[in-house]
């Protein structure tokens, strides 16, 4: 009972935070410099891990699927299989899980330490709304950068798949690319971009909420950080299921 009440309370607080962010979007000031800075720190700063994640995921997809496809004599569709898996599922989910680990935890830790060292109060005392100055820029940054990084992850993954197909499985690269191109369909891409946009929002809002609801000093900051990663990862995977269902029935099944 207590658990349920607590869960309802947390959801209510999250909704309130979201509402305050949305309402703030239509009232000046909008901190443009902060938004750009967060895009750089959260987005550009994550490029390396996303490149590595994409490359190896594409490679291992090609490796695993080629084996099975060979049994049916359709090894030539490796490219399509790799690209489809990446665009639909693995690109968005892996990119955003990596972001939840790297960036969501960072947001929670940063805002949490600002809270316990009274910097958030100092900000309010000096006439700044911390929601607008800290939360909104992070949300805007992640909602735009998560899809961007996902596209990069998809591209690099497809390249990784090609490298494996040509060097280790001895497929001509033209076969692979021609097959991969067949996966690139307008609706697939739209579907593949909706997911990371939603996930980016989840990572940012959960990170900010965890940080700003920190209790109990420095130890509390550690707890908030862990909580933000756990909650946003689980939400990403759960929401991915729901979104996949919706995207398949609305965009792809016709």
């Amino acid at each position: 009972m207590k658990f349920i009440l607590n869960a309802i309370y947390q959801i209510q607080e999250l909704a309130l935070l979201t509402w305050r962010v949305v309402r703030g979007l239509f009232r000046p000031p909008l901190y443009g410099r902060e938004i750009l800075m967060q895009m750089d720190v959260l987005g550009v700063g994550s490029l390396t891990i996303i490149l590595l994640t994409g490359f190896f995921t594409g490679g291992v997809l090609a490796l695993n699927s080629a084996n099975t496809l060979q049994k049916f004599g359709v090894q030539s569709v490796t490219g399509e299989l790799v690209a489809t898996s990446l665009i639909r599922e693995l690109g968005p989910v892996l990119t955003c899980l990596m972001l939840a680990g790297r960036v969501g935890s960072g947001i929670a830790a940063e805002l949490g330490s600002m809270l316990v060292s009274e910097q958030i109060d100092a900000m309010r005392a000096l006439g700044t709304d911390p929601i607008k100055k800290l939360v909104t820029p992070r949300i805007i940054a992640l909602v735009t950068m998560a899809p961007t990084l996902t596209v990069i992850c998809d591209l690099v993954g497809t390249m990784g798949g090609m490298l494996v197909s040509t060097t280790m499985l001895h497929q001509p690269s033209s076969t692979y690319l021609a097959s991969a191109k067949r996966a690139v369909d307008y609706n697939e891409i739209i579907g593949g971009l909706i997911k990371p946009t939603v996930f980016g929002f989840i990572i940012a809002i959960i990170g900010c909420y965890s940080g700003l609801s920190t209790r109990g000093g420095t130890v509390g900051v550690g707890r908030s950080t862990t909580r933000s990663v756990v909650v946003s990862s689980i939400l990403i995977i759960a929401v991915d299921f729901l979104l996949s269902k919706m995207i398949i029935s609305v965009l792809l099944e016709s």
């Binding site: 009274e118 910097q119 109060d121 100092a122 005392a125 000096l126 006439g127």
Partner: protein, 268 residues
């Protein structure tokens, strides 16, 4: 506002956190130009009192007035305007650690979109006041505890607020640095007529603030004077908090003469 003598007034303010009563019907007033020294053991709600004054948290009961204005039910937006009149020096400085000393002090000016050309001279004047001109380019983590507090004071003074709240600005500092901070407080009290709440545990602070004062001599230089038998400083008053209640409210002479065993122990 006619008839109002108080820069800050608490009327029967109560607050509880998770069922623990922190403040129990606390009432007091800080007159214009007065320094109210708030004492009490740790956890008695001194910081909470200051946070209430700034409207960072709201009381469960009672009214809080700033400069004659009842702020108890103000929204965060309306509160932002009131906070322009109030400077707050946080317990550990609460400096923004991603910003340099200069940018910390300039923070409020940038938020209110003051022209960058004017910011420089204001910031340097504030840093000169706390004797930290040389530290302008440093980051907060390069500063000592005393320097952090002084930057906190400089940041709070931007915009010349007529009300300043100090949360244990001398705690954990060596006697010389603590004295420097008290002297800043004296200058603001006596030369700028700032009204303030000053939270402290330190007896040395109590002595300095209740017995010394600052004047300008004939040449306009600042001189520190000592209270003597013929003169009694009325612009410094004391409050002692204990278990959520105000157990003392008066002058330092009354405080020192008090027979209350808790106060005697506190002053021992």
């Amino acid at each position: 506002m006619s008839g109002n003598h108080y820069a800050i007034e608490f009327q029967g303010v109560s607050l509880a956190f998770d069922g623990n009563v922190i403040l129990n019907r606390v009432s007091f007033g800080v007159r214009y130009g007065e320094a109210k020294i708030v004492m009490g053991g740790s956890g008695t709600g001194k910081s909470t009192l200051l946070r209430l004054t700034l409207g960072l948290i709201k009381p469960d009961e009672g009214r809080i007035l700033i400069d004659g204005e009842d702020i108890t039910d103000y929204s965060e937006e309306k509160m932002m305007e009131v906070r322009g009149k109030v400077g707050m020096v946080f317990q550990e400085g609460a400096l923004f650690d991603s910003l340099s000393v200069y940018d910390n002090v300039a923070y409020r000016l940038r938020e209110t979109r003051v022209a960058e050309s004017e910011i420089g001279s204001i910031v340097m004047r504030m840093l000169r006041f706390v004797d930290l001109e040389d530290a302008a380019g440093k980051m907060p983590n390069e500063l000592s505890g005393g320097m952090r507090r002084r930057v906190g004071i400089a940041r709070a003074l931007v915009g010349n607020p007529k009300i300043i709240l100090y949360d244990e600005p001398t705690a954990g500092l060596d006697p010389i640095t603590a004295r420097t901070i008290c002297e800043l407080v004296l200058k603001l009290r006596d030369l700028e007529e700032v009204s303030s709440i000053f939270v402290t545990h330190r007896l040395q602070d109590i002595d300095v603030l209740s017995r010394e004062y600052v004047m300008r001599d004939d040449r306009g230089d600042i001189v520190f004077m000592h209270e003597d038998e013929t003169l009694c400083l009325l612009n410094t008053q004391f409050i002692m908090l204990r278990e959520g209640n105000v157990i003392f409210n008066g002058t330092d002479e009354e405080l020192r003469a008090s027979g209350d065993p808790y106060i005697r122990k506190f002053l021992a």
